[in-house]
Structure formats: structure tokens, C-alpha cells
């Protein structure tokens, strides 16, 4: 029979747009039911089987558009997992106390193939951040901007690395500038303030988790070596500094842009 296969073809195309496998089955069943209902209604109106099927499928709309819309609704919840992995990487990667766990297990050695790489453990952490954020961007971001977000993230993390290697004010400023540029670029393409803030928020979260990791590390070290419970007293200060570097300017700018936009709408 030809008709069921037309429906199957349609469902196949819709299915291909939905990236989260777990959501596919129930969604497709619902759509299939709908097409069958619609087809039966057309048959009751006096159409023959084939016409009814064609018309029912046409009523449903472009399978690619439908699938993409459903894809946007059904997304796996990976954010929590990503943050967890970053925190673990942060704890492993921090080396201020000279006791980086990565170094203990042999990865934190700064000389690789004869080349001296400064703060290798931090670098590993930053690369981990980039990998996780890129995969999240590939899953969640609209297709037209996911690449740009990944690029921006790369530049921001490079700036963070420079700042870690050369802790001087001009490298902190470089990070601020790179963050602002990323915000503007993504905003220009997506025309949405929220999307523009994505890369700066993730870099903020990345740095913050890094600090938390460092502090957990200090805490473990302190506790193990001299039995004290110190370690977290610097977190609020660090949080404030990271906020100024990564988020502050962009939040001000987005507030400015939104207020300007709403004024334009009224005018």
C-alpha cells in the first residue's frame, strides 16, 4: 500500500529534525494520530483514500519546519551535568597551593614534549570548559549562531588564559574587551539581548567554578596539612571581581539596548 508509506516518509523527515532521541517516539505517535484523524475526516467528506492522505499531510505543514519547532521544545537537560564536570575539572586543575591533583596524577607537569607550558592544569581546565560549552551550544543554540558562540567562547577563554599567565591589569582589561565584543557580535546576529549574554554568562560561570574549585582545593589542603577549616573566605571578593570583568559591562549594555528598543516601539 502506498498511503501509509507517505505518512511514514513524512514522519521520517520530522524525526530527523528532533535531535533528542528520547522525545522522538511519543511526539511522532501524536503526529501520526493527527494525520490519521485528519485523513479520516477528509474521507468522510467524500475524498478517496489517496487524496485524503495527501491533503492530511499537506495540512500538517512542512515537515522540516514542524520538526525544527518540536526540536526546539524537546531538549535534553544537560546543563547540570556540564556544570558538574566543570567543577570537577576546576578542582583537578587548580594549582595555587602547589598541590594540584592533576599534577599528583602526573598530568599537571608543565613540560610537555620539551616545551614549557605555563599553568598547564588551568589550561586543561579551560579546554574542558571550551569542549563542554561547545557541545552545549551545538545542542541548544539556534543553528545560525551556534558557531559564532563557540568562536566567541574560544576567544574569551584564550583571554582568560593570558590573564592567568600574566596577572596584570592590561590582560584583565583584554578579557573585559573580548567579553564585550562577543556580546555585541552575538547580539548583532541574533538580535536578541538574551542570546548575546550567553557567552559572557558562560565565561562568568566558568571562571566562578574555577575559583570555587581552587577554594575546595585549598580547603582540602588546609584540612589535610594543618587541620584548619579555612579556604572559602576569598570567594565573595573573587566573585565581585569576576562579575566586573565578565558580566557587569554587558548587563549595563543590554539594559541600555532594551530600554532603547522599548522606547522605539512606543514611538
Amino acid at each position: 500500500m502506498q498511503q501509509p508509506s507517505k505518512i511514514t516518509d513524512y514522519l521520517e523527515v520530522v524525526c530527523r529534525q528532533i535531535r533528542w532521541k528520547k522525545a522522538q517516539a511519543s511526539v511522532l505517535e501524536e503526529i501520526e494520530n493527527h494525520i490519521i484523524d485528519q485523513k479520516n475526516a477528509f474521507i468522510n467528506d467524500g475524498l478517496n483514500e489517496e487524496e485524503a492522505t495527501d491533503k492530511a499531510i499537506a495540512e500538517m505543514g512542512d515537515p522540516i519546519v514542524v520538526g525544527e519547532q518540536l526540536d526546539r521544545v524537546h531538549r535534553p537537560r544537560l546543563v547540570g551535568m556540564g556544570i558538574g564536570i566543570l567543577l570537577v575539572l576546576g578542582i583537578l586543575g587548580t594549582a595555587d597551593m602547589g598541590n594540584s591533583l592533576l599534577r599528583i596524577i602526573g598530568v599537571g607537569d608543565q613540560i610537555v614534549l620539551g616545551v614549557n607550558i605555563p599553568i598547564l592544569a588551568e589550561l586543561i581546565y579551560l579546554v574542558g570548559v571550551l569542549v563542554i560549552i561547545s557541545s552545549l551550544a551545538a545542542i541548544f543554540a539556534p543553528r545560525n549562531i551556534s558557531k559564532v558562540i563557540i568562536w566567541c567562547q574560544g576567544f574569551i577563554l584564550t583571554a582568560i588564559y593570558f590573564m592567568e599567565v600574566f596577572p596584570r591589569i592590561r590582560f584583565a582589561l583584554l578579557l573585559v574587551v573580548v567579553n564585550i565584543i562577543s556580546f555585541l557580535v552575538v547580539y548583532r546576529i541574533s538580535r536578541s539581548v538574551k542570546t548575546g549574554l550567553v557567552s559572557t554568562i558562560t565565561s562568568f560561570a566558568g571562571l566562578f567554578l574555577f575559583v570555587v574549585g581552587t577554594q575546595i582545593n585549598c580547603y582540602m589542603y588546609n584540612h589535610g596539612v594543618n587541620g584548619s577549616y579555612g579556604g572559602f573566605e576569598n570567594v565573595p571578593k573573587a566573585l565581585a571581581i569576576i562579575f566586573i570583568m565578565c558580566l557587569g559591562p554587558q548587563i549595563l549594555m543590554s539594559a541600555f539596548i532594551s530600554s532603547k528598543n522599548s522606547k522605539e516601539q512606543i514611538a
Binding site: 511526539v27 505517535e29 475526516a41 500538517m60 505543514g61 514542524v66 519547532q69 518540536l70 526546539r72
Partner: protein, 114 residues
Amino acid sequence: MAINKSLLTGSTTILILKLLDEKNMYGYQMIEELRKKSNNTFELKAGTLYPLLHTLEQKDMLTSYEETVDNARVRKYYSITKKGRKHLNEKKEEWETFTAAVNAVLGGAGFATT
């Protein structure tokens, strides 16, 4: 009568919530019901309806359950939640304010006679 699409998109949510406020329904039924109630003005596409239903379900404004009907086909019924009702009332008020304002600008009481 054909109506501009942009007018429709914002109001589809409140139409769906209103339908489900009266009784639980499955997707196809909603489209039929809407067409009947609006004298064929709202030809809601299924391709718009389902993503919207799933979004509303994720926002806890709707819940769904499955029911087997006649020849072993499983239908997905939707019903409105408390949160959905609250949202409906808010949106309804918003809509009334908006349409009243548009009508006032278009010509106040004289609008009905043109």
C-alpha cells in the same frame, strides 16, 4: 475571512488554554473545535499547535495523559492546570485592554458603523 498571521501567533496560546478550560481534548479535536467556534476564521495548523502544546506542557500550564480509543490507538489528551488557568486569566485581561485600546484608536464608537 483571512487574517494576518502576526495577529494570530500571540493569541493562539490563550485560545488553546480557553478551549482546554472547558474540557480535556486531544490535538485534532482542538483544531476542529477552534474552527467551529470561530466560524472558520482560525485555521490553526497542526504544525503550530503541537510545538505550542508541548511548550505549555513544559511550563506546567498543561498536563497530558494517554487514553486508548476504539481500535487500540493511543490518544494524547491535554488538560489545563491551575497555573494554566492563572495564565489564561492574566492574558485575557491583557487582551481585553489591548483590543479596547486598538478599537478606541480606530474610531471609538463610530468604528462599529463603518
